[in-house]
Amino acid sequence: MNNEIGTLLTLAGYFALLSLFAIGGANAALPEMHRLAVEVMHWMSDREFADMFAIAQVTPGPNVIVVTLIGYHVAGLIGALVATLAMCGPTCLLAFYVGRTFDRFRGASWQVALAGGLVPVTLGLTAASAVVVAGAADDTWVAVGITVATALMTYWIRVNPLWIFAVAALLGMSGVV
């Protein structure tokens, strides 16, 4: 029981902290989630992390929903709730209280500087996410092929990723991956 509460507290504290660092959205925070869930806490394997990322991607809605899956995996329904609230709560409060002030000063030079400083960081984090997720997901050459093909197709053609996911699922089911 104590252990359970400890786990919930870890989930809550960790995701609340991460939410404040998750500039660029939940996907930019994936490397840190992977570091905690797989490498530090050993809550799940690389494979399970990749599976959860996949499930979150095919679920309609915001990307942040991957933390719900991690929370559920670690501590069931209550874990899912705690992780989701912790990840969304602090930034939502911030948005609630700061959002209007921020809008009022749109174009102010401190905002330009803020954006100019944050955008490259976000970019670097997103690229890092891509590497970490691909590292977790691609354990065969066919998987690498699917990753590269998806990247190329979604970059050059305006195709709904769900179609690609469907094809990838079929390829997976057929056993070639």
Partner: protein, 120 residues
């Protein structure tokens, strides 16, 4: 998610912000929890594992193309501090796997200071 809070507040105050948040997060939360339940119970099935392996590989590809699209405007710019900051964030978090807190604690103030200095 944050945008929904700001937007909801503009439309309907505090209640609006809460409704917008619940509307955005509620349905996916229920759906993904159900999927999590299925995964916990049937994740061992070989066919499901193979399907997820395929989808995970594709989802990774989608993240890569998102990253490339985001990088587009920066790539066309003259190399400057922004490139250095982006590369530093990528290498330290993606390759060296350093904790995000230390990395951002250093890079965000540096990035903002440099952007400020350049903007002036």
């Amino acid at each position: 998610v944050n945008f929904s809070v700001v937007f909801g507040r503009q439309v309907g105050g505090t209640v609006g912000a809460l409704v917008a948040l619940l509307g955005l997060l509620g349905p996916p939360f229920v759906l993904v929890t159900l999927l999590g339940l299925l995964y916990a119970n049937y994740g061992e099935i070989a066919a499901l594992q193979r399907i997820l392996a395929g989808v995970a590989a594709a989802a990774a590809g989608l993240t890569i193309s998102t990253g490339i699209k985001m990088a587009g405007p920066l790539v066309q710019e003259r190399p400057g501090f922004a490139h250095a900051v982006a590369i530093a964030a990528f290498v330290s978090v993606g390759i060296l796997r350093w904790p995000i807190y230390w990395v951002l604690g250093v890079l965000i103030p540096c990035g903002i200071a440099l952007a400020w200095w350049q903007h002036r």
